[in-house]
Structures are given as structure tokens and as C-alpha cells.
């Protein structure tokens, strides 16, 4: 029995690696004194998303990570009534503004192994997305709503 369970676990791990791990592009960022986090490229949002969101094969990521359901809301225009909250001053990163002012999330600033900075929008469950993508997602949503 134990042998079968072990085999099944190995098979699952192999499928997960094939579908999400081995083929997926990923990056690693450190946050202050934290151990750091691995991110995987999300092809829908064209952004780095916490790798943990992709851990279970066959499970739709949005049902697992809050940040992805927030991105879907952003895409669908849910936050458009609050656009007045956005006011860019001093060339702030638009993604950071959207993250804090529209989504009510916090921004984490990470560094890769070469010292490059990258901010991430972190949802309350800890799942995160690279903030650079938020602006393009919002703009696409605005454009879509205005064309209707």
C-alpha cells in the first residue's frame, strides 16, 4: 500500500513539474531579511505571480490565491468607480499606486540576486504579483469599458 501511495505521490510531482514547474519561467526575489520568494510567469497577466499559486496542477490559480482573483476583478472593471483615488505625484510607479489605492494591498520591494529592485503587490493572504503589470491591466479594462 505504502509503495503505491509513494508511487502516486511521485507521479503527481512529475505531472506538477511538467505542467507548472519545469516548463515555467521563474524568478527569485529577496525581501529584506526574509528568505525570499519564488515567482512564476503568469501568461494571462504577463506578470510574475507567487509560485505557490501554481502549486496544484489542475487547480485554477484564482481559486487559490487572492491576488489572482483581484486581478480578475481589476480586469473586469470592478475598481473603475474608484479611479479618482489615483493621483500620480513625482513619477510614482503606477502599479504601486493601483496596488495601494485601488486594491487596498501593500507593496513589497524585493531584490534579485543582481541587486535589481522589483516591487510586488501583496494581497492579504500573502500572494503577490509584480506591480508593473497592474497598470496595463487597468488600462485595458478602461479602454474596454469606454469602447462599449
Amino acid at each position: 500500500m505504502k509503495v503505491w501511495i509513494g508511487f502516486l505521490a511521485l507521479f503527481q510531482a512529475f505531472v506538477a513539474a511538467s505542467v507548472y514547474g519545469a516548463t515555467a519561467e521563474s524568478v527569485f526575489y529577496r525581501f529584506g531579511t526574509d528568505q525570499g520568494q519564488r515567482f512564476q510567469l503568469d501568461s494571462d497577466f504577463q506578470a510574475w505571480v507567487s509560485a505557490v499559486c501554481f502549486a496544484d496542477p489542475g487547480v485554477k490559480p484564482a481559486s487559490k490565491c487572492k491576488i489572482l482573483s483581484q486581478m480578475q476583478d481589476l480586469q473586469s472593471g470592478k475598481y473603475q468607480k474608484d479611479l479618482g483615488k489615483l493621483r500620480s505625484v513625482g513619477g510614482q510607479n503606477p502599479g504601486s499606486l493601483i496596488c495601494t489605492e485601488l486594491l487596498g494591498n501593500s507593496v513589497m520591494s524585493g531584490r534579485d540576486s543582481k541587486g535589481n529592485e522589483q516591487t510586488f503587490c501583496r494581497s492579504e493572504d500573502g500572494s503577490s504579483i509584480s506591480s508593473g503589470s497592474l497598470d496595463s491591466i487597468l488600462r485595458r479594462s478602461i479602454k474596454k469599458s469606454k469602447s462599449h
Binding site: 525581501f31 529584506g32 531579511t33 526574509d34 504577463q46 506578470a47 510574475w48 479611479l83 489615483l86 493621483r87 500620480s88 505625484v89 513625482g90 513619477g91 510614482q92 510607479n93 503606477p94 502599479g95 504601486s96 499606486l97 493601483i98 495601494t100 501593500s106 507593496v107 513589497m108 520591494s109 524585493g110 531584490r111 543582481k114 541587486g115 535589481n116 529592485e117 522589483q118 516591487t119 509584480s130 506591480s131 508593473g132 503589470s133 497598470d135 496595463s136 487597468l138 488600462r139 478602461i142 479602454k143 469606454k146
Partner: protein, 478 residues
């Protein structure tokens, strides 16, 4: 054409000519490189970030919500001219600018009224560099501890963070001024009171220090600067959380006496104000204080340098002598209501601007540009259309309903490439390094190179309101 339109047209063209003249003069100020012709259409690529280039070692910056784009740009420009090309701290430049009284988050605050009426906003890139020159040295990026921490432990250091620090420094100077008024007849009494103020600060910082040490004692592994810094920040944030202000200082009587609170009150009040504005957290500010036990006796400038970069003095960088930062503002008349004059001005300004930028880049110098950030997202964006339509943010034309998170911005030009377009015309694109991390331009596909974006010169010309360049005076001959 009505009489009222004619003077506007001529004033417009005159302004453009003056501007072009200024640029040409500035270019002529330095030795022209052998291949300085910009009229040819030979394929050519210059990248300062390529191996051996002047900003090849520059790390990508992500300023988050700080609003310090002018400092990000200034840091790259300086890196390109300082011998050895070390990375320069943008936080140090931002703080220096703020402490010098120029706010990077307010447009043309320091400009004279007559200048305001002639030019569009911008110009803080050179303000940042001039503030650093005035200070005499700048910190290398590796010596600024908070910059290295990356704000992780200080989410409140977003939004007006550096302005808040400037306010705090002013408050500190003001407190000291109260106890040591110039020519005071009661100096002795003041000295006594001053000693009490210092004692209050000491008590406070002692408390935070002991809390931080407790945290550090539980840390296993190497206590790097980052680990130590984080422990102090956490300890300070615990003491000076927002709740502290809601409940009132009495909650912390075990730490502070009434008298301490009284002396600290003006500074703490300024923290409170800053916090209301969404600025720096009290904990963050107090953590700085921990590092700077004796900071209260320092000038705001010294205070910042020592607080943020304890090793800055040792690793200090110097801007080469004879370096001058010059802003070339695009005249407001460039817009013009008469389209025929606008087109002529547009051509003049664009050509002069291209010559200047290309000349600088060929010499290995990064160039600062103030522009509408919406143009980075949409190459067809034309800020003049938005000014004319009277849309929101119409003063600069930098905001519209489609780009609510955008506004005026400063970026750095670190390269260009010239090629012949399919229609046979000559095409010039500039390589722009932004301060929004590595993936902000991913939607641009091959034009986006890890946070650096190739952008057409036409787009830049339509959206730029200021070009910042570094000139170096020629040494006088024998």
C-alpha cells in the same frame, strides 16, 4: 489671422529659436566627437548599459510610491560621469533635494513667476544634482542602509516619504532654534532646557534600542546590516505605531514622563501631521533616530547623511569638478494654438533636442528627461492634445481618463539606435531606463528589455517638457 494671434505666433517661434540656440551653444561648449553628425541615416546603436558602458553596472530601480523619479534619473546621470561609474544612491539624492528646500513632488515650486508662465513643469533632476553638489559629496548606493532594505519594513515610507523626512529635519532644526535663539539673553537657561530635550530623546532611543537587542538575541545566523536594521525598525514601529497617536502619549507613560512628552511634543506633532498625509511612519523616523543618538546636535543635512548612510563618509563619491547640470525646458509656445507655427516649432525643437541628446549619449553621458509617463505606455500619446482639450491634468497634459495612474515623470535616456524604416525614412529610437522595476513594459514585447524601453523620438518630442544634461567645462588652455 486676427491681430491677437500674430504676436503669439512670433513669440512662439522666437521662444523656440532661443531654445534651439541655447541647446546648440551648450553642445558647442564641449568638444564634439568625431562622428557627431546626426543628419545621416546610417544604422547605429549606442547603449551606455552595454558591457564597458558608463551605466553597465547600474541596477534596475523601483521607486515604488516614493515619487522620487527625479532622484532616480539624477543617480544614473551621475553614475555615467563619475570616474569608475559606481552606483549612486537615489535615496540620498532625494533626501538632499528635499532638505535643500526643493520638493520633487511639487511642480516648479522654486521657479520664478516669469519662468512659470513661459515653460512647462519639470526641472527637478538638475535640482537634485545641484543639491548634491552643494553638499559636496554623495553616497554610493551600497552605503545607504534603508535603500538596501528596500522599504520592506517601512510600508509607510511610501508617498511623500522624502518630503516627510525633510519636514522632520526642519522640525528638528526648529526645536533646536527654540532653545538656542540667535543672540538669546537667556542662553544659560536654554542650555539647561536643551539638555533635558536631549535626555528625553535618549530615553526614547534607549527603549527602542533595548527592544531591538531583544529581537536580535533571538536571531539565529549572521546579523547582517539588514537584519540589524530590520530589528530596529520593528522595535521602533512597535512603539510609534499609529495607535500611539490615537490613544495619546499617556499610554506610554512607562517609557516617557510628562516632561519628556512635553519636550518631544513638537517633533512628535510633526510626525502626526506627516502620518495624516500618508507620509513616513513614526517608527521609521524613530529608527533613524536610534542610529543617530546625537543627531539632534547636527544640521539637517548632516543628520540625514549619518542617519541613512553611516558609511557614506568613508565611501563618499564626488561629482567631477566643472560639472554643470542644465535644464532645457520646452517652451510653452511650442504648443501654440496656431497649428502652422506649432509644426515649425515642433521640427526645430525636436531636431535640436535630438542633436543634444545624441551628442551627450555618444560621450557616454546619460540624459534626463521630464515627460508625461502616459507616453511610455502609449506611443501615440500627445500631451498637447490633452492640454488643448482641457482634460484633467491639463496643466501639463500628463493625465487623461485612460491613464489615471500616470502623470509628470522623469526617466533616463541611456542609448539610441538609428535605422531606416520600411518607408525609407530615417528612424531614431531612444533607450529609456525607468524607475518602475523590471517588468513594467512587458506589454511592449521586444521593445522592452528588462525594464528598459525603446521609444520613438517622435513620441518623446510630443511629450517632453524638459531635458536635463550634464556639461563639463573645458579646462582653460596654457
Amino acid at each position: 489671422m486676427g491681430l491677437s494671434g500674430t504676436p503669439t505666433k512670433y513669440i512662439g517661434i522666437l521662444s523656440a529659436l532661443i531654445w534651439v540656440g541655447m541647446l546648440s551653444f551648450a553642445t558647442a561648449d564641449e568638444a564634439a566627437p568625431a562622428n557627431a553628425s546626426t543628419q545621416t541615416c546610417e544604422e547605429e546603436t549606442v547603449r551606455l548599459d552595454a558591457s564597458g558602458g558608463t551605466v553597465a553596472s547600474a541596477e534596475m530601480q523601483d521607486q515604488d510610491g516614493l515619487g522620487v523619479c527625479y532622484a532616480n534619473t539624477a543617480s544614473l546621470m551621475l553614475q555615467s560621469v563619475i570616474p569608475g561609474h559606481p552606483a549612486v544612491s537615489y535615496l540620498d539624492l532625494a533626501i538632499g533635494t528635499s532638505a535643500s528646500g526643493v520638493s520633487g513632488t511639487a511642480f516648479v515650486k522654486s521657479a520664478k513667476e516669469k519662468d512659470k508662465s513661459l515653460y512647462f513643469e519639470g526641472g527637478f533632476v538638475c535640482d537634485a544634482i545641484q543639491a548634491a553638489q552643494k553638499k559636496g559629496r554623495i553616497c554610493s548606493r551600497k552605503s545607504v542602509s534603508i535603500e538596501r532594505l528596500g522599504y520592506v519594513y517601512s510600508p509607510l515610507l511610501q508617498k511623500k516619504g522624502t518630503d516627510a523626512l525633510g519636514e522632520w529635519a526642519d522640525a528638528l532644526a526648529s526645536i533646536r532654534g527654540q532653545f538656542f535663539p540667535p543672540g538669546s539673553a537667556e542662553k544659560e537657561a536654554s542650555v539647561k532646557q536643551w539638555a533635558q530635550v536631549k535626555q528625553s530623546f535618549k530615553k526614547l532611543t534607549d527603549y527602542i534600542e533595548s527592544e531591538a537587542q531583544k529581537r536580535l538575541s533571538k536571531v539565529s545566523g549572521v546579523q547582517t546590516d539588514e537584519v540589524i536594521g530590520a530589528a530596529y525598525l520593528e522595535a521602533a514601529e512597535k512603539l510609534f505605531s499609529k495607535k500611539f497617536w490615537l490613544l495619546g502619549p499617556k499610554k506610554y507613560e512607562s517609557v516617557l514622563t510628562e516632561q519628556d512628552v512635553c519636550y518631544l511634543d513638537p517633533i512628535l506633532k510633526s510626525f502626526e501631521e506627516i502620518s495624516k498625509q500618508g507620509g513616513i511612519g513614526h517608527g521609521q523616523a524613530m529608527a533613524i533616530l536610534v542610529q543617530m543618538r546625537e543627531s539632534i546636535d547636527l544640521s539637517p543635512q548632516e543628520f540625514f547623511e549619518r542617519a541613512f548612510a553611516p558609511t557614506c563618509e568613508k565611501d563618499a563619491l564626488k561629482i567631477p569638478e566643472g560639472t554643470t547640470c542644465m535644464d532645457y525646458f520646452v517652451p510653452k509656445s511650442f504648443l501654440g494654438k496656431d497649428k502652422s507655427s506649432s509644426a515649425e516649432e515642433f521640427r526645430l525643437v525636436k531636431d535640436a533636442y535630438r542633436d543634444q541628446a545624441l551628442g551627450q549619449l555618444r560621450k557616454g553621458k546619460a540624459v534626463g528627461i521630464s515627460l508625461c509617463s502616459a507616453a511610455l505606455a502609449d506611443f501615440s500619446y500627445d500631451r498637447f492634445e490633452h492640454i488643448e482639450s482641457g482634460a484633467e491634468g491639463s496643466r501639463s497634459g500628463c493625465s487623461s481618463a485612460y491613464y489615471p495612474a500616470h502623470g509628470a515623470h522623469a526617466v533616463t535616456m541611456i542609448g539610441y539606435r538609428k535605422s531606416r524604416a520600411a518607408d525609407g525614412s530615417c528612424k531614431t529610437e531612444y533607450l529609456i531606463q525607468n524607475s518602475w522595476g523590471k517588468d513594467w513594459c512587458r506589454e511592449k514585447g521586444a521593445l522592452c528589455d528588462g525594464g528598459k524601453l525603446w521609444i520613438p523620438d517622435d513620441t518623446l518630442a510630443k511629450n517632453t517638457f524638459d531635458l536635463s544634461v550634464l556639461h563639463q567645462q573645458q579646462k582653460a588652455g596654457p
